[in-house]
């Protein structure tokens, strides 16, 4: 078993703790926060996981007991922590939008960065949408891709809210870097409705001249099935929709777009299922419950 630690005891870290407890490969040995009254740390102790509010200093004091760190703090904190993990020989899986390590989306490029000391999981919206953009760009040119993520207000914690630009910029960047679009843009909307909405993601891909509608549709369906194999709540709200018009995108004029309407029901854990696969920034991580 790989010995893991979670840094950050907020929404995402706590939810990840529940997911790791279901993994046959990953063993959670420590949970670290900075708030002595943290609900996440209390829950960790309750489940027999060593927990400390001593922050990263505490963790680095026992670096030889840990193989992998999951960073569930915020982008700027990870930028401070990352060099210290590396110096201590700890591999980092970054669940913040810090963009230090290569961005990884399992069905697209999981095998490419197996040796990287630090991998970035982009954002939850990125994990939900980049596979679709990739599915389209592997069968035709995508001059421009755009995604809209709508998240239940309750599942967006203070870290996300105070750094909302990082969500849109990191996700938009990944649509290009990993998804294969020529230009990308991401939008996030918070919806406070009660009961909370299921996380929704809409992908728009501008389609280059000469695309084959059937090839695009079947590539998308294949990819949805692949993602659903590790995120069972991931599904299409309807078949891919093709709209023909003259769209003046930042990547040039395209004759059509495909609209992919996705819904994600979380596997449950600390955050309710409605919050999407463990809420907001974990990128469908952990055991894929």
């Amino acid at each position: 078993m790989l010995r893991c630690a979670i840094v950050g005891s907020g929404n995402i870290g706590t939810d990840l703790m529940f997911k790791l407890s279901r993994s046959p490969l990953l063993e959670l040995v420590a949970m670290v926060g900075i708030d002595p009254d943290s609900e996440g740390l209390r829950l960790a102790r309750e489940r027999g996981v060593e927990a400390s509010h001593g922050g990263v200093d505490w963790l680095l004091g026992r670096a030889d007991e840990v193989d992998v760190v999951f960073e569930a703090t915020s982008a700027w904190v990870h930028r401070l922590n990352a060099p210290r993990y590396e110096a201590a020989g700890l591999r980092a899986v970054d669940l913040t939008p810090a963009r230090l390590g290569p961005p990884v989306v399992p069905p697209v490029n999981m095998g490419e960065h197996l040796d990287a000391p630090n991998v970035n999981l982009i954002t939850c919206g990125g994990q939900a949408t980049v596979p679709i953009v990739y599915a389209v760009s592997r069968v035709c040119r995508v001059p421009y891709a755009e995604i809209v993520s709508t998240v239940a207000s309750r599942s967006a914690g203070p870290g996300t809210r105070q750094n909302i630009d990082e969500f849109t910029q990191t996700t938009g960047w990944a649509l290009v870097e990993v998804g294969g679009a020529e230009h990308g843009k991401a939008i996030i909307v918070l919806n406070p409705a009660e009961p909370p909405i299921l996380m929704r993601n809409t992908v728009f891909c501008g389609l280059g001249e000469g695309f084959d509608e059937e090839a695009v549709a079947s590539s998308i369906l294949e990819m949805v099935a692949e993602v659903a194999s590790y995120v069972p709540g991931y599904r299409l709200k309807s078949d891919p929709v093709f709209e023909y018009d003259r769209f003046e995108t930042p990547g040039g004029v395209v004759p059509a777009r495909v609209v992919v309407l996705l819904e994600v029901e979380g596997g449950g854990g600390f955050l309710p299922a409605v919050c999407g696969e463990s809420g907001h920034h974990d990128g469908f991580g952990g055991s894929g419950g």
Binding site: V148, T168, S238
Partner: protein, 338 residues
């Protein structure tokens, strides 16, 4: 006589919805010149969904908004130029660019329950030396006390003014009065009202807000804006003059601006048709209107049914993608004959 309130004309921002975000540099030049001449103190210029709004989801800008902004700044002699930014759509970089060009008022908009996503952007606006205005959209959806709590957040981030924004044009006179009244009573900063005309109450609600001591009001010339339109600037000014409320704006000059400069852009502006009325009645975000009409045509369904379903789903501003979702769903049901 000094004006009793400060007027912001949003023809070149909210009105952008009504022209599918295709304002030209010539239109911006002529509108800004006419409003500036009439004495309108603040003129807002941005994509309808704020800086960075140009997209598949909201419609691509016909002309880069920074180009339009530059024309506005160059044209205005007295008026300040404002921009709108919705965190989640636009980013701080957009605000920096706008400030560099010369925009001096930053209006930062969030859904009425999500004020805390505006902290960085309001902070940056102040850092850049801009006036910062918090803009609480869809404010009809929550009780005045809850709205106050969100307004206090924006004030604590440094907002010089917080607006009650009736994005759905769904507020009755009493709704507007209670919200503005409570914010005026409890906030130290200024309070504004942004009214839409879906229920034909935009001017009336603005007058009620004035009775509560509102500091800032928004209008759009001829009402050009999302949904059935905004509070028509020239009518607001005329009514205020008739009511003995000084506006600082020349009523006849602003009427000329409306008739000769803005009216030709959308001659049919001002009609409250069934779909426009439904927005106010069902409490649906005003800028969904044209998107819903377009989707209705594309999928062979009724725009009315789309708007009602959006109201039932409690979608908020920014969720234009749900219009396609609903239209596709309605078309499928129609095919199945259910």
């Amino acid at each position: 006589m000094t004006a009793r309130f400060r007027l912001t004309d949003s023809t070149l921002r909210d009105g952008s919805h009504a022209v599918a975000h295709r304002f030209t540099e010539e239109q911006v030049r002529s509108v800004v010149a006419a409003l500036d001449r009439a004495g309108v103190p603040v003129i807002e210029v941005s994509h309808g969904d704020g800086l960075g709004g140009s997209s598949f989801n909201y419609g691509f800008s016909g002309t880069d908004e920074m180009k339009l902004l530059r024309v506005a700044v160059e044209t205005a002699r007295r008026a300040k130029i404002a921009v709108l930014l919705l965190p989640g759509i636009g980013v701080r970089e957009d605000l920096r660019k706008a400030a560099e060009i010369g925009a001096s008022v930053a209006r930062i908009a969030t859904h009425c329950t999500e004020a805390d996503i505006s902290q960085q952007h309001i902070g940056l606006a102040k850092e850049l030396g801009m006036e910062a205005v918090g803009f609480l959209m869809m404010a009809h959806m929550i009780e005045p006390e809850d709205l106050l709590a969100q307004a206090k957040l924006m004030e604590s981030y440094g907002a010089d003014c917080v607006y009650v924004v009736d994005s759905a044009g769904a507020m009755t006179i009493e709704d507007a009065r209670r919200r503005v009244g409570l914010l005026k009573e409890k906030l130290g900063c200024q309070v504004g009202l942004h009214a839409h005309n879906n229920l034909s109450l935009a001017v009336a609600n603005s007058l009620a807000a004035l009775e509560e001591g509102v500091d800032q009001l928004d209008g759009c010339t001829t009402g050009l804006g999302a949904g059935a339109g905004n509070c028509p600037t020239e009518i607001l000014v005329a009514v205020c003059e008739r009511s003995g409320i000084p506006t600082g704006v020349d009523p006849l000059a602003v009427m000329d601006a409306a008739e000769e400069v803005v009216r030709p852009i959308r001659p049919d502006q001002g009609v409250i048709d069934r779909d426009g009325l439904l927005l106010g009645y069902a409490g649906v975000y005003g800028s969904f209107l044209l998107h819903a009409k377009r989707a209705a045509e594309r999928y062979g369904v009724d725009a009315k049914d789309i708007l009602l379903e959006l109201g039932r789903r409690k979608v908020v501003g920014g969720q234009e993608d749900m219009i396609i979702d609903v239209a596709v769903e309605l078309a499928r049901r129609q095919r199945q004959g259910s």
